[in-house]
């Protein structure tokens, strides 16, 4: 079976090479047959890569430990449902997965694209074949997943225990898929640039494939944050780690693109700019692969590290040179663009949005590469972590949220200043009031949080104002009262899908501000039956159960959570501490049990690894979050207890994000197309 898999990889290599050469020769000799046949070679590449994928899965299921990859990433004890995770848990398998997604998505797009007979397709197919060729080349000669073991073995090493969680079924594959699919809009944009005549043909397909990649990547990151928060017991969800950053940067560039592509679609402007944005996103995605697979930066996500870094660095440099050469070669040929008519216009607001997003992208990039830079120049190692990114990107993110509120108030081309003042009055006053009230309540030292909440409310009020006003107009012109809003958002799915995504971003913003500015935290070690009080919660340690399995030792600690009146516990209050310990059998009169949590601490001797499951009691207002830090020898348990205000909104945003993205992607039926704005 491993021979079949490897042969199919080699076959895919030849087919994708044929895709490149066939297309180029076909374009030069003007031969449609050759072009069609080389486009079909992508379908055949997909088929052969799929067979490779199936053979690797088969090898996992049949426990064929003679194959090194299977041996390294699974064992007899592993539950077979984790084959899917084991498949991409290492370097070779994840590359095979990426290649599969890329070929599969390319085939689907090429098959159903309405551009089939347009001139840009051969060039785009050439670029796609080129990227696919590169990935299969790496798989076949540098990271072969079908390599055999040198010696006979009966059992494998096993899967990394940190990956043994349902979250791992979706987070890594979505991230990798999102990053892989960026190649498709990149290929279409550059294909049309090489062709050089029509720079608008690719806009629809570019927008749809970008939204797809952007949506998958976004959900992938959100799932990762959720997994880190609920499972890993880091106590956080986003730490501006290099690997997180390299996924965020292309996503930000794509975010800029999905806004500015609307300007090209509606107004025929920003043609060159949109191509630059996709080039940036693609190159940043390659940068991500480089960092991920043996780059020079340390990260907590060291699952797929390898020595392949410099091959991907080479590819990164090649794509950089390639896209800029084409760009400068073609730029004289591009006709001058239409000009912006007014600064008070939707397109100008998208310009500022793009500027802010790229600012954040490049500042993040600088933070990621600066340690390398410092190492080389001064020979001093430094670390650039969360505090830096929070300080630099935080204010820019607030400005971005403000733009999110201003955007919906502006018209395309130009807005009437008087009308704008009318529209902006309500959201602006309310949000200024919110800022003032918050400053009164939380004090001036957290003014940033107040400003941030004000910006969020500004953004959300302006969306709802837009919906209410337009729904009223629809009703007054005879639309059904109950469906008017639904009909409104259906009349322009791109715009209103965008608003729904904005609402999800506002929810994330709430969670981020709540957890960053208002979290409370205490570290205490307590005996059985003792309690910890933090704010108005009491956590009582009621039981400990230890359990030994062949692969792990699990300690489960059971806690009861009470909502209390802190003044009843005044005598135990400790100076210089947020939380305090309460001795055995002390209960307040007003204590109300609101739930119980189980904290798990698992030790995997084979990997010398610890996995911690924290306990969370979540409400829309705040999360009580308990991490088991230590199980001390004297019987105490060391707990890190924190209150994370508004944290659950980070996850509530997920369904809104998905719905908004799908809504914006949903094809508009033909009879509606004309009144679509």
């Amino acid at each position: 079976m491993s021979e079949l898999g490897y042969t199919c990889l080699l076959l895919g290599l030849c087919l994708s090479l044929y895709g490149i050469i066939g297309n180029l020769v076909g374009i030069l000799t003007n031969s449609p047959e050759l072009i069609i046949s080389s486009r079909r070679s992508i379908y055949m590449t997909t088929l052969s890569v799929s067979i490779s994928v199936i053979s690797l899965i088969y090898l996992f299921i049949s426990n064929d430990f003679s194959v090194k990859y299977v041996h390294d990433h699974s064992n007899l004890a592993m539950d077979k449902s984790y084959v899917w995770v084991a498949f991409y848990s290492g370097n070779e398998g994840s590359l095979l997965y990426i290649t599969f997604i890329l070929t599969f998505a390319s085939s689907i797009v090429l098959r159903f694209s309405k551009l089939k007979n347009k001139d840009i397709i051969p060039w785009s197919t050439t670029i796609l074949s080129g990227v696919i060729f590169f990935y299969i080349l790496v798989l076949a000669f540098f990271a072969n997943p079908f390599e055999h073991m040198n010696k006979e073995v009966v059992d494998g090493i096993g899967i990394n225990p940190l990956l043994l969680h349902p979250g791992m079924f979706s987070h890594p594959p979505m991230l990798m898929a999102g990053l892989a699919i960026i190649t498709i809009p990149f290929a279409f944009a550059n294909g049309s640039l090489i062709n050089g005549n029509k720079l608008d043909d690719w806009v629809d397909i570019g927008r749809i494939t970008t939204l797809l990649s952007w949506g998958i990547l976004g959900i992938g990151m959100l799932l990762g944050a959720w997994w880190a928060y609920t499972i890993l017991g880091w106590g956080g969800y986003w730490s501006w780690d290099p690997i997180e950053n390299v996924a965020l940067m292309p996503w930000l560039a794509l975010t800029a693109f999905i806004h500015s592509i609307m300007v090209q679609k509606r107004r025929g402007m920003f043609q060159i700019w949109n191509i630059i944005l996709l080039n940036i996103a693609f190159i940043l995605a390659q940068f991500g692969t480089f960092i991920n697979r043996g780059g020079p930066v340390v990260s907590v996500h060291s699952f797929a590290s390898s020595t392949l870094g410099y091959i991907f660095l080479g590819f990164l440099i090649f794509s950089l040179i390639f896209s800029f050469t084409i760009f400068f070669w073609r730029i004289p040929k591009i006709r001058s663009e239409r000009n912006m008519e007014s600064f008070l216009s939707r397109e100008a607001s998208f310009l500022i949005n793009n500027f802010l997003l790229l600012c954040i992208t490049f500042i993040t990039l600088w933070g990621v590469i600066y340690p390398v830079f410092s190492d080389v120049i001064r020979d001093i190692s430094v670390t650039v972590a969360a505090p830096y990114f929070n300080r630099t990107n935080g204010p820019l993110l607030i400005l971005l949220v403000l733009m999110m509120g201003i955007g919906p108030l502006l018209n395309w081309r130009k807005s009437d200043p008087k009308q704008l003042v009318n529209k902006i009055f309500f959201p602006l006053t309310i949000s200024l009031l919110i800022i003032i009230i918050l400053i009164i309540f939380i004090g001036l030292e957290k003014y940033l949080a107040a400003i941030a909440f004000g910006s969020l409310s500004f953004a959300i009020i302006s969306i709802f104002q837009d919906w209410v006003q337009n729904t009223k107009i629809r009703i007054s012109s005879g639309d059904n009262k109950f469906f008017a809003w639904w009909n409104l958002i259906n009349s322009n799915r791109q715009r209103h899908g965008g608003y729904i995504v904005h609402i999800s971003i506002i929810m994330i913003g709430m969670g981020v501000i709540g957890t960053n500015f208002f979290d409370q935290r205490t570290d205490q070690a307590i005996f059985l039956e003792e309690s910890i009080v933090l704010d108005n919660y009491r956590i009582e340690y009621i039981d400990l159960i230890e359990n030994t399995k062949p692969d792990r030792i699990t300690s489960s600690a059971y806690m009861n959570i009470y909502k209390i009146n802190p003044s009843e516990y005044k005598e135990y209050y400790e100076e210089e501490s947020n939380g305090y310990k309460i001795p055995k059998n002390i209960r307040g009169i007003n204590d109300k049990k609101i739930g119980n949590i189980i904290l798990k601490h698992e030790f995997f001797p084979n990997f010398n690894q610890i996995s911690v499951r924290s306990g969370i009691l979540s409400t829309p207002i705040e999360d009580l979050y308990v991490i088991p830090r230590d199980f001390l020898e004297d019987g105490r348990i060391g707990l890190a207890v924190s209150i994370n205000p508004l944290a659950s909104w980070l996850w509530i945003s997920g369904p809104f994000f998905i719905f908004g993205t799908i809504f914006a992607l949903w094809p508009t039926s033909r009879n509606k197309k004309n009144n679509n704005f």
Partner: protein, 129 residues
């Protein structure tokens, strides 16, 4: 031109306001130690702060922080203590001196350049009118 300068002055004030330093007073020792544990990296882990790390060294370092805080040391002194021991790498962001200034100059340059480009677009629109 005058107009442009005014905008720049406004923006730089805005930035100074936003990048203002963290206020270390008025906090309990525990809050300060929590703050510090987010600013200091665990030297033996990959890219984890003391706050995130489960390692024994990180636990010991957190105890050191608490002890030094109760001795009355400032956050700055405690950071310096760890820098002397483990090198600059131990800080979650490098001290703002020497080459490290670039860590802050480059973002400001990126931002200002962008603002200038946008102002330029604005001027062009005005001119055409």
């Amino acid at each position: 031109m005058l107009h442009q300068k005014k905008v720049l002055i406004f923006l730089s004030l805005f930035f100074i306001l936003f990048f203002g330093c963290i206020n270390e007073n008025d906090l309990t020792l525990e809050q300060r130690s929590y703050q510090l544990s987010k600013q200091i990296m665990c030297p033996i882990c990959d890219a984890q702060t003391l706050d995130q790390s489960q390692s024994q060294l990180a636990k010991d370092m957190k105890i050191t922080i608490l002890n030094q805080l109760s001795e009355g040391k400032t956050n700055e002194q405690i950071r310096d203590f760890f820098v002397n021991r483990y090198g600059e790498e131990v800080l979650a962001y490098p001290p703002q001196k020497g080459l490290n200034i670039f860590l802050w100059i480059i973002p400001t340059t990126i931002f200002v350049t962008g603002v200038l480009i946008i102002l330029n677009t604005y001027k062009n629109i005005k001119k055409r009118k």
